[in-house]
């Protein structure tokens, strides 16, 4: 028995290590590359580590290329989207999991359907709508858009979690004289903290990483760009080749916060996904 085990262990271990290296390689490459100066970065070659550690890329990205502003925008959009998503999502999930009302099945079905709409279809009309609503110069256009497009999935997530909370609690609350809303706010909501934490994190992550939507909404107004758009916008900027190293620095800047959040809170990310999908 032990012999068989050890024979298997080598290819298995190898496979795991290979995938581990593959997973970490782009991030490591970006990290080390961000310290290379322009000429070294462009000369190419096979070396991962910089010959000289040059911090000026970050300096330039932060100040000249306005990444300080973009980071603020990303933080604002992501945090606001997370808050709004939790608020609206939980408010809506409660009736969906508990209430009986006209059109409930229809709404649930439609919410499921909406996930099939390719993102790109929504952009131009939303763009025009923001224009006529005068939302253009504001970060709020992105907050609301991001929240709205993420709602179908998050509402389903919270709903399926809330459906798992026993109805008996509702009965007790009713006997105590709680209205529908009170049952929600005082009892079910606190019980749903785990899924809300997860939802908030997912909403934060999606907003932080979102590219297409913010791209279109900030095309003519660079000052409201989030980091993802800002980094990629350097590709089109007139500086041509001299912006590659800054883009890498910017990429690292945009990855680090979310990685840190993940490493500390990964339990919530994972738990929410498994909770939501196994039922769904």
């Amino acid at each position: 028995m032990t012999r068989k085990k050890s024979l298997w262990n080598i290819p298995i271990g190898l496979f795991l290590i290979i995938w581990l290296l593959f997973t970490l390689f782009p991030l490591t490459y970006a990290f080390f590359g961000s310290f290379k100066n322009n000429i070294e970065f462009l000369a190419g070659g096979a070396s991962l580590l910089p010959e000289q550690w040059d911090f000026s890329n970050y300096d330039y990205a932060w100040k000249e290329a306005n990444f300080a502003r973009y980071t603020f925008n990303s933080l604002f959009i992501s945090i606001m989207s997370a808050i709004l998503t939790i608020a609206i999502g939980s408010l809506a999930a409660f009736p969906l999991s508990r209430g009986r009302f006209f059109g409930k099945k229809l709404l649930t079905g439609v919410l499921g359907l909406v996930m099939f709409i390719p993102n790109v279809v929504l952009i131009f009309p939303i763009f025009k709508m923001c224009q006529s609503l005068g939302l253009f110069n504001s970060l709020w256009s992105m907050v609301i858009t991001q929240t709205a497009t993420g709602l179908p999935f998050t509402v389903m997530l919270i709903t399926s979690y809330m459906s798992g909370i026993s109805r008996e609690i509702d009965e007790v609350a009713k006997i105590d004289g709680c209205s529908f809303f009170r049952t929600f706010s005082s009892i079910v909501l606190p019980l749903s903290k785990p899924i809300l934490a997860t939802t908030g994190l997912i909403a934060f992550k999606n907003a932080w990483n979102s590219y297409l939507m913010p791209l279109s909404l900030s095309l003519s107004n660079p000052s409201i760009r989030p980091l993802t758009v800002g980094v990629l916008a350097l590709k089109d900027s007139g500086e041509g080749i001299s912006s590659w190293n800054i883009m890498i620095a910017g990429s690292v800047l945009s990855i680090i916060p979310i990685v840190i959040v993940y490493l500390f809170l990964n339990r919530y990310f994972i738990q929410g996904i498994t909770a939501g999908s196994v039922k769904g």
Partner: protein
């Protein structure tokens, strides 16, 4: 519990950011643009500007680098007087996307450049009333200094909407250092296309992977107009986008020899690799760092390489006329006038805006030299008097890269109407098909015929709804050699 503490911390951070965000996000808060070195402009409350002494204008510029001759000129303008302050923003490759969106959303600066846009869009912008007429702001004496086409190019129903600031034409750029290293005479650029192919092969061989003979930015849409169309025009076979003014139809098959030429170049491996993902900015950067021996680019890059691109400080290069096939008689050269400034129709400071435009028109080719005496630039102005004066200076005559630039300027004529820019195509545009023809092995005859069919079909539609008239398409007495 640690969880609780971190939650408090998160809540605290969120509260602070919320406050900050509400203050910042609800309005027009951009970074302050009063520092001339900062290229992001900020807007001003238009209402305030009326009562204040200083009029603040917003301006958008299309350029290759953050600091360029326009920004220097505007800085000079800002410093030279107190009544008007201009805050500008510089845009790169995606400017046409940005401008189109801005115009349709109403988020438009007072002054914006129309460069890198197709004429069809520009015309529809004029029709939609986005631009203010300019002729009220200058007198006949001023107009008299200019090449007349400056005021006809963007005229519509009796008004002038844009005054082009630049004559644009293409030249062959070649790297003298690489010529030397490959054993070629650095003062003898290729005079025919066949020779250019030969030189490209020699350079690529000498390069052994470090540098290559020719640069073709296959990823950029502008490549086909600058390389293929230009050669076709100089050879007297077609106009831009393979439109044949002698027949009034598109005929892409006539460009086949040129396409085959570039395909041969590609297959011979003398074009810089990665060209399929190389765009024009990358190509320029590679030329500047001695990786490309020859390529075709616009006349404004002479100023770009000499004064604007950091990487090109030590570049040893020159320009030459674009060659044609051996034995081919040279026709008139291709002049574009597609860059100029417009004033937004809803701007509240139109007169001040024109002051800015006029200052740029008059000074943009000299301002850099005033700031830094080593930044001499040739004049590409349509103001003929200025042009002659500047270009006859010794400093200009002796500058790097100017040889081809100043040659045969009298051969340059523009096409009044470029039909391809006024069409709505129902099929692939030339820009999506040509890259595949160069790098692949598809049947050229078939693809070119399909292109002609697509474009001609759209042409018929344009004729029917009056966008284009017969005289646009087949001008009287048109001759490629003498137009």
């Amino acid at each position: 519990m640690l969880k609780y503490n971190s939650k408090c911390a998160i809540a605290g951070v969120m509260a602070i950011l919320m406050l900050g965000g509400i203050l910042a996000g609800c309005g027009n808060d951009s970074s302050k643009g009063s520092n001339p070195a900062n290229s992001e402009g900020s807007s001003s409350a238009d209402g305030d500007a009326k009562t204040a002494d200083v009029v603040t204008l917003k301006m958008w510029i299309r350029a290759s680098s953050k600091e360029n001759n326009q920004t220097i000129t505007i800085d000079e303008f800002n410093e030279s007087q107190d009544q008007i302050k201009v805050e500008y923003e510089v845009y790169g490759d995606n400017y046409s996307e940005v401008l189109k969106l801005a115009l349709s959303s109403g988020e438009v600066p007072d002054v914006f450049e129309v460069a890198g846009l197709d004429a069809g869009s520009v015309r529809s912008f004029i029709k939609a009333g986005y631009m203010a007429p300019l002729e009220d702001y200058y007198d006949d004496e001023y107009a008299g200094q200019f090449n007349p086409s400056a005021f006809t190019q963007y005229a519509a129903d009796g008004h002038v909407y844009i005054i082009p600031k630049e004559m644009r034409y293409q030249r062959l750029y070649y790297n003298k250092t690489l010529f030397e290293r490959s054993g070629l005479d650095p003062d003898t650029p290729p005079s025919t296309l066949e020779e250019m192919m030969k030189f490209a092969k020699i350079i690529s061989e000498a390069g052994e992977g470090e540098f290559y003979g020719f640069g073709l930015p296959i990823k950029s849409d502008s490549t086909w107009e600058r390389n293929v169309d230009n050669i076709a025009i100089l050879s007297g076979t077609t106009g831009p986008w393979a439109f044949d003014y002698s027949t009034g139809q598109f005929d892409f098959a006539k460009q086949k020899p040129i396409l085959e030429y570039f395909r041969e170049m590609f297959n011979a491996g003398v074009i810089m690799p990665g060209s399929e993902s190389l765009d024009i900015e990358m190509t320029r950067a590679n030329f500047a760092t001695n990786k490309i021996g020859m390529y075709i680019d616009g006349n404004w890059m002479v100023n770009g390489y000499n004064n604007e691109l950091e990487a090109a400080k030590d570049l040893n290069y020159d320009t030459a006329l674009i060659p044609v096939f051996e034995g081919q008689q040279r026709a008139k050269d291709y002049l574009s006038l597609d860059s100029g400034h417009a004033i937004y129709a809803n701007s509240e400071h139109k007169e001040e805006a024109f002051t800015v435009i006029k200052y740029v028109l008059d000074n943009v080719y000299e301002a850099p030299a005033r700031k830094d005496s080593t930044s001499i630039a040739p004049s590409l102005s349509l103001n003929l008097a200025n042009n002659d004066r500047i270009n006859s200076q010794e400093a200009v005559q002796n500058m790097k890269g100017v040889t081809g630039l100043l040659q045969e300027q009298n051969q340059l004529t523009s096409f009044p109407v470029i039909p391809s820019q006024m069409l709505t195509l129902e099929g692939d545009s030339r820009e999506s098909v040509y890259p595949i023809l160069i790098i692949g092995n598809s049947d050229m005859d078939c693809e070119l015929q399909k292109l002609s069919a697509t474009y001609n079909k759209a042409l018929d539609v344009a004729k029917t709804d009056g966008t284009l008239t017969q005289s646009d398409l087949t001008p009287d007495g048109f001759d490629y050699m003498t137009r």
